[in-house]
C-alpha cells in the first residue's frame, strides 16, 4: 500500500500515543525534596534500648490505643507489629545463643518501629485527595480522616509498612504515629521520648539529632561516654561505655532521608529495616506523571489528532447512514402498500 497522507497521519497518531507513555522513563527527574526548616524527629539508639516497652505503653496513653493480646491467657499486652491499635512497637533480634547485647552473632538487640516521617513521603505523594500531608515547617506527616476515601494506597506504598488501616469496622480510619502533635502543641515532647528511661529514644530538631548521631559515631567503643535522656540537649545524662555502632545512620539517606534517625550495633537489615535506595520511588512516578500531563499538552494533542481522524470516518458514515435510512423508509412504505 502506498504511503498516503492519511495513512501517514494515522500511523503517526497511533505511534505517538503509544510511544508517549514509553519514552517518559528517560525524561528529566523532579527535584529532590529537602529537610523542612524546623523539621522535628526522633533519634533511636538500639544500643541504649533495654526492651522495657515503656514507650509502647506511653504511646497507648497518648493516642488512646488499646492493649493487643496474642497469648492464650489474654493477660499480656503483646503487640506483634505496628497496627491500627499500636503506633509504636519494640521488636527483638536474637541470634545463636543470644548472649551479648548488640552483637550480630550470638547476640540480641531491640528495634523501635514507628513512622519515620520521610522527607519525601510516599503516602503523601500517592494520596489522591490530600488526606496525607507533610507539614511544611515541622515535616510531621499527618492523616486527615475527614478527607480520606479509604483507598489504602498509602498502606500499599509505604516502604516501611507504617500506615495501618482498620478492617473490622464499618467506619474505619487509618492510624500512624504523628509525633504526638497534640502534646507538642501543649509544649510537651512525644510520649515515647518522654518516658524512655535510657534515652534510647530522643526527641528534637532533626539537625540536632543528626549532630548527636554524628557524635556517637565518633566515640571510641568501650570508653566512658555520656548519653542524654528525652532530648539531645537535655541536662539529664547517664554514663555508659560507648558501644560499637554499625557505620551508617539509618534514615539519613533511605528513600531521600527520614526525620527519624536510627543507630544500632547490629546491621539494620537484621533488625527488619529494609535496604532502600537514596531516592524516593515517588520521585520517579511523579516525574512520569508530570511529564505526560505537563500542561495537559500531550493529551490535548492526542485528542486533537483523534478528533480529526474520527471526523473523516464519521463524515463518510453519516452519508452512508442517510442512504440507509432512506432505504429503510422505502421498505416501510412498501410494507404499507402490501398491507393496503
Amino acid at each position: 500500500m502506498p504511503l498516503t497522507r492519511r495513512t501517514f497521519l494515522t500511523r503517526t497518531a497511533i505511534g505517538g500515543a503509544i510511544s508517549a507513555a514509553s519514552t517518559v522513563a528517560t525524561a528529566e527527574t523532579r527535584e529532590e525534596k529537602t529537610l523542612p526548616p524546623k523539621a522535628l524527629g526522633l533519634l533511636f539508639d538500639s544500643t541504649l534500648c533495654v526492651g522495657c516497652k515503656a514507650c509502647v505503653v506511653a504511646c497507648r496513653d497518648a493516642n488512646g490505643t488499646h492493649p493487643e493480646f496474642n497469648t492464650e491467657d489474654k493477660l499480656w499486652d503483646t503487640p506483634l507489629d505496628l497496627d491500627a491499635d499500636t503506633l509504636t512497637v519494640i521488636k527483638a533480634y536474637r541470634e545463636g545463643t543470644g548472649e551479648t547485647k548488640d552483637q550480630e552473632e550470638n547476640g540480641y538487640a531491640f528495634m523501635k518501629k514507628s513512622c519515620l516521617q520521610c522527607i519525601d513521603p510516599s503516602c503523601v505523594s500517592v494520596c489522591p485527595v490530600s488526606a496525607m500531608t507533610k507539614n511544611a515547617e515541622t515535616g510531621i506527616v499527618s492523616y486527615n480522616p475527614d478527607r480520606c476515601i479509604g483507598c489504602r494506597y498509602c498502606v500499599a506504598a509505604c516502604p516501611f509498612g507504617v500506615p495501618r488501616f482498620e478492617y473490622d469496622k464499618a467506619v474505619p480510619r487509618l492510624r500512624k504515629c504523628e509525633l504526638c502533635k497534640p502534646r507538642l502543641a501543649e509544649g510537651k515532647i512525644p510520649a515515647c521520648a518522654e518516658v524512655c528511661p535510657t534515652g534510647a529514644t530522643l526527641f528534637g530538631p532533626v539537625t540536632v539529632l543528626r549532630a548527636e548521631a554524628e557524635r556517637r559515631h565518633k566515640l571510641v567503643p568501650g570508653e566512658r561516654a555520656f548519653f542524654p535522656r528525652k532530648t539531645a540537649d537535655s541536662e539529664d545524662v547517664h554514663e555508659k561505655p560507648a558501644p560499637h555502632y554499625v557505620t551508617e545512620t539509618y534514615g539519613l539517606n533511605e528513600v531521600g532521608g527520614t526525620q527519624m534517625q536510627l543507630l544500632s550495633g547490629v546491621p539494620f537489615k537484621k533488625l527488619g529495616m529494609p535496604v532502600l535506595p537514596n531516592k524516593a520511588f515517588v520521585s520517579i512516578s511523579e516525574t512520569i506523571q508530570h511529564t505526560i500531563y505537563k500542561g495537559m499538552i500531550a493529551p490535548a494533542v492526542l485528542f486533537g489528532c483523534l478528533l480529526f481522524l474520527v471526523r473523516r470516518v464519521t463524515n463518510k458514515e453519516v452519508a452512508l447512514h442517510d442512504d440507509d435510512r432512506d432505504a429503510r423508509e422505502d421498505d416501510h412504505n412498501d410494507d404499507h402498500k402490501g398491507e393496503g
Binding site: D83, I149, R152, F281, L302
Partner: protein, 401 residues
C-alpha cells in the same frame, strides 16, 4: 451499518444462574458495608489491595478495553469494515468500566467520602490515582454516550409507532447525537490511553515491594499495551461466543484481520518488556523468583501461543483457533495484571488469599456483566443483522484471500 435486536426469551438457564449469583453478591456487599471490609474479605495491612481491586478494577477495566481497541482500528486506522464489531465492543466496555467503578466503591474503606475525588480543592496532582480515578469516571460517562445510538434507535422506533411530537423530538435528538458523537468517540480513545498507562505508573511508588520482573519504569507502556491485548482478546472471544451461542454467522473473517493488529501489539509488549529486563540487567530474576518465575513464564508463554496460533493464515481464519488464541491472550493479559498488582507484591511476613465471600462478590460482578450483556443484545440493536452480516462476510472474505 444494519443492526437489530436479537429478540428471544429473557429467562434462560444462563440468565437465571447469573441472576442468582448477583443476589448472593448483593447480600455479601450489604454485610461488607455494615461490618467493614474484614467481615467479607481477607484484606490486611500487608495486602491492603486484594482481588476486588486487582481483578475487578485493574483487570476488569482492561477487559473493558474492547471498545477502545476496536475504535482505534476503525477510526484511527480508518478501517471501516470492522464497524460491525463496534457496538458489541462498546457495550462490553460500558459494563467493564461501570462495574469496575462500582467495585471500587465496595473496596473503599471510607466510601462515603468517594465524592472527594471530584472536589478540586482536595486534588493531589502528584497522585497517579487521582488521574486514574477522574479519567475512568469521565470515560465511563463517555462510554454511556457512545452507547446512546442503539438506545436512541429503539426510542425512535417506539415513538415512531405512536407518531406525533414525541417522535419528532426523539428523531431530532438522535440527529444531534449523531452529529456530535465524533467528539465522544475521539474522547473514548484519548481517555483509555491516559488511564490505562497510568494504571502502570500507579505501581512505581511501590518500589521493591513488587518483584523486579514486574517493577520497571516502562510499566505505563506495558499497561497500555496489555489493555489493547486484552481489548482485542475480549472482542475475539465475544464474537466467537456470540456466533456460537446465538447460532449466528461467524465473524471469523473480520477477526482474522483484527488479529493481525493483535499480533503487532503483543510483539510490541514482549519487546518492550524483555528489552527493559535486559537493559536493566534483571534477567537473573527469571530464575531466582521462585513461584513468581513460573508466573512470569506462564504470562509470556500464553502471549507467545496466541501469536503462534494467529501467525498462520489458515488458523487465523478458523473460529476454533481464534477462540483458543483469544483465551490465551486474555489469560496472559489478566495474569500479567494480577501478578503486577497482587501476586508479585508482598511484604515479609504477610499472606493473602481471597476469602470465599470475596471471590463470590467478584463472580457476582462477572454475572452482572453476562446478564446485562445478554439482556441488552436481545432488547437493543447491538449485533449486526444476520442477512447483512452474511453478505458482508462474503465480500470481506474475498479481500482477505
Amino acid at each position: 451499518m444494519n443492526v437489530k435486536p436479537l429478540g428471544g426469551p429473557y429467562r434462560t438457564r444462563t440468565t437465571v444462574i447469573a441472576a442468582s449469583m448477583v443476589a448472593i453478591m448483593g447480600v455479601l456487599v450489604l454485610i461488607r458495608f455494615c461490618f467493614g471490609l474484614g467481615s467479607v474479605t481477607n484484606l490486611n495491612n500487608g495486602f491492603p489491595w486484594g482481588l476486588w481491586l486487582a481483578y475487578d478494577m485493574v483487570a476488569g477495566s482492561a477487559i473493558g478495553c474492547g471498545g477502545y481497541a476496536v475504535a482505534l482500528v476503525v477510526y484511527a486506522l480508518n478501517k471501516g469494515q470492522y464497524h460491525s464489531l463496534m457496538r458489541p465492543a462498546i457495550l462490553a466496555s460500558m459494563f467493564g468500566y461501570a462495574l469496575g467503578g462500582i467495585s471500587v466503591i465496595f473496596d473503599m474503606s471510607r466510601w462515603w467520602n468517594a465524592w472527594h475525588i471530584f472536589w478540586p480543592a482536595y486534588f493531589n496532582l502528584n497522585s497517579v490515582l487521582i488521574e486514574v480515578a477522574l479519567c475512568v469516571s469521565v470515560y465511563t460517562m463517555v462510554l454511556m454516550l457512545e452507547f446512546a445510538p442503539p438506545v436512541m434507535e429503539k426510542l425512535v422506533e417506539w415513538t415512531g409507532r405512536r407518531g406525533g411530537k414525541l417522535h419528532a423530538a426523539t428523531t431530532a435528538f438522535e440527529k444531534v447525537l449523531n452529529k456530535v458523537l465524533f467528539v465522544f468517540i475521539a474522547l473514548g480513545m484519548t481517555l483509555p490511553t491516559m488511564h490505562q498507562s497510568s494504571l502502570g505508573t500507579m505501581l512505581i511508588p511501590l518500589g521493591p515491594l513488587i518483584n523486579p520482573l514486574w517493577q520497571t519504569p516502562v510499566l505505563p507502556a506495558l499497561f497500555l499495551l496489555t489493555a489493547l491485548c486484552i481489548g482485542y482478546g475480549v472482542v475475539m472471544l465475544e464474537a466467537t461466543l456470540v456466533s456460537d451461542r446465538f447460532a449466528r454467522p461467524s465473524e471469523a473473517h473480520l477477526l482474522a484481520l483484527l488479529s493481525r493488529y493483535l499480533i503487532g501489539v503483543v510483539i510490541a509488549f514482549l519487546t518492550i518488556r524483555w528489552g527493559a529486563l535486559i537493559y536493566q540487567g534483571r534477567l537473573h530474576f527469571l530464575f531466582t523468583s521462585g513461584g513468581l518465575s513460573f508466573a512470569f513464564f506462564a504470562e509470556n508463554v500464553l502471549f507467545l501461543i496466541a501469536v503462534i496460533l494467529l501467525w498462520s493464515k489458515y488458523r487465523r481464519l478458523a473460529p476454533r483457533y481464534q477462540f483458543i488464541a483469544a483465551m490465551c491472550i486474555l489469560s496472559g493479559g489478566i495474569l500479567y495484571r494480577l501478578d503486577a498488582y497482587l501476586i508479585a507484591y508482598g511484604r515479609v511476613g504477610w499472606h493473602y488469599f481471597p476469602s470465599v465471600s470475596e471471590l463470590m462478590v467478584t463472580f457476582g460482578m462477572i454475572a452482572v456483566e453476562v446478564l446485562g450483556y445478554v439482556l441488552i443484545v436481545k432488547f437493543f440493536p447491538v449485533l449486526p443483522s444476520v442477512e447483512r452480516a452474511a453478505t458482508s462476510a462474503l465480500a470481506t472474505n474475498r479481500s482477505v484471500a
